[in-house]
Symmetry: C2
Subunit: 250 residues, 2 copies
DNA sequence: CCCACTGTTCCGCGATGTGGAAAACGACTT
DNA sequence: AAGTCGTTTTCCACATCGCGGAACAGTGGG
C-alpha cells in the first residue's frame, strides 16, 4: 500500500519534466488529471523545500533541490552499472559506456574501457549533443517524437563529420528505425573512423539511459550487429531490472 | 499548509543524500525522527516509482529516477544563473562560473565568459576533483568536516601543480579558513597562472552551489579580494533568493 | 469594462496515513 | 540446530490529514 500524496507529488514533478522542466498549473492538471486545489497544495510543499520554483509568470519549474539528489543518484547509477559495462566489454572487446539525457544533452555517466591498446575514450561527465551519437538516438527514440523535435529545434544538428545527420526529416526517420530495430548506430557521425552501437535501458516502461560499445569502425563493423545488439540488450535488461526490480521492458 | 507526507518523503530522500546516497532504515529513522513503519511505507512508494532502490543487504539508496529530474533541474538552474554570472563578469572583468557538487566531483553548470581576449574557459559539464578548485573548497566547506574527509579519502588529492594542496590536515585547515572568511581562493592549484575566487550559493541554510570568477593570476591579484568577495557574495545571495524566495543565507 | 482562462483559497468530510506493537529477517555466536 | 541481537517488515485501530468542489482572485486580450 503506497502513500497517495507522495505518488501525486511525483506525478507533478514528472509532469513538469515532461514539459521540459516548466509548466503552468493547468498543464499539470491536464497531464495528471488531479484537481487544481490538490496540485496547488502539492506544489506549495515542493516549493517551500526548493524542489520546485515558481517563475514570475506564475508558471512552475523543477527546482534546484533536485540537482543535488540527481547528482548523487547519478554517481550511484554509474557505480551499479560497472559490472554490466564490464560484461559488455567482454562480449564485444570494445569500450562500453552508460549515458543519460540531461535536458538537451547526452552525459556520459560511466565507462568500462576496452583492454585493447587502441580504444575509445569518452570522459565521464562529458556532454555532447544527442543527434550525432548512438546513445543520443536511443534516448530520443524513447521519447515522443514531439519532444525529440523540440530538442533538435533548440540545439540544432550541427555537422560533426560528413556522415552526421543534419536534416530533421532524416533524423526522425532514423529514430523510427531505432525504435523498430531496438538499437542505434553511430557510423562516424560524431567522429570519423569511430563506430558505435547503443541499446536502451528500460525502467518502468521508460528509456532512462542508454548503454553502448564503441571502437574503430573496422572492428565494430567486423561484428554481427544484430547478434551484438541482442547480447547488449540482454545485459541492459539485467541492469534495468537491478535499477528497479519490477521494471518491465515493454 | 503543506502536505505532511510529501515533506516526510523529502526528509527521507535528504537523509539518504546526507549518508552519501545510501542508508539503512534505522539510520534514516535516527536522522529524521520518523517511526520505522512510516519510513518503510514512504520508501516503498518511492521504490515503486524508481526514486529509491533497495540493495541486496536491505539498505536503501537514491534511485535512478532522480537522475532525469536532476538533470533537467540542473539545466534550468544554469539558465537562471546567467544574469547573475553576467553581473559577476561586469564586476570583475573576468569569466564567471557556476558549479555544483555531484557525488565526489565538481561539475561546471553554467558560465559567462569575460569579454577580454585572454580569458578563462571551463567547458560546461566538465567535472573535476574538488580539492584543487576554489568552487570545490567552497562546496566542501559547506559540508560537515566528516563528509569532506570522506570525499578526500575516496578521491585522493592528486597534485595538479606545485601549488596544489595535497595534505589532508592542510586541506581541512584551508576549509576552516574558507568558512570563516566566506570565500575560497585557487592560487594556481588546478592550473598554473590561473587564479580563482569563489563564493557560496545558499539555499535554505545549505550551500547548494558555488559561483566564481577566474582569470590570469596577475589580473585576479590586481583586484581587492575582500571587496571582490563582498560583491560576488551579494550577487550569489540574490541568486540563492531567486532559487528559493525565502532562502536564508545564515 | 468585459470575458475567458488560469491560479489561489477555503472548509466540511471521510479516506488516508499514522505509529506502536508484534512478527519476521539476517548475521553471528554457541 | 538453536539462540541472540539488531534491524526490517507487517498489521490494524484510530484520528488526523489531504481531498476536491466551489468561490474568489489574477491576468491578458478584445
Amino acid at each position: 500500500m503506497s502513500v497517495q500524496s507522495v505518488e501525486r507529488a511525483l506525478d507533478v514533478l514528472e509532469a513538469l519534466a515532461e514539459h521540459g522542466g516548466e509548466a503552468g498549473l493547468s498543464e499539470i492538471a491536464a497531464r495528471t488529471g488531479l484537481p487544481y486545489g490538490t496540485i496547488h497544495r502539492l506544489l506549495q510543499t515542493l516549493l517551500a523545500r526548493g524542489y520546485v520554483r515558481q517563475e514570475s509568470d506564475r508558471r512552475y519549474a523543477l527546482g534546484g533541490g533536485l540537482v543535488r539528489l540527481g547528482g548523487i543518484a547519478e554517481s550511484m547509477v554509474g557505480v551499479w552499472a560497472q559490472p554490466y559495462l564490464a560484461r559488455m566489454v567482454e562480449l564485444s572487446g570494445e569500450t562500453a559506456n552508460l549515458a543519460v539525457l540531461e535536458g538537451d544533452f547526452i552525459v556520459y555517466v560511466a565507462q568500462a574501457p576496452s583492454p585493447r591498446r587502441l580504444r575509445m575514450f569518452a570522459e565521464v561527465g562529458r556532454r555532447v549533443l544527442p543527434h550525432s551519437t548512438a546513445v543520443g538516438k536511443v534516448l530520443l527514440s524513447g521519447r515522443p517524437a514531439s519532444q525529440a523535435v523540440a530538442v533538435f529545434e533548440r540545439t540544432g544538428m550541427p555537422r560533426r563529420t560528413p556522415n552526421t545527420i543534419t536534416e530533421l526529416t532524416a533524423m526522425l526517420a532514423e529514430l523510427e528505425q531505432v525504435r523498430s530495430r531496438g538499437y542505434a548506430m553511430d557510423l562516424g557521425e560524431e567522429e570519423l573512423g569511430v563506430h558505435c552501437l547503443a541499446v536502451p535501458v528500460w525502467d518502468g516502461g521508460r528509456v532512462v539511459a542508454a548503454m553502448s560499445v564503441s571502437g574503430p569502425a573496422e572492428r565494430i563493423d567486423g561484428l554481427d550487429r544484430d547478434e551484438l545488439a541482442e547480447g547488449l540488450r540482454k545485459i541492459a535488461l539485467d541492469f534495468g531490472n537491478e535499477l528497479r526490480p519490477t521494471a518491465d521492458g515493454s
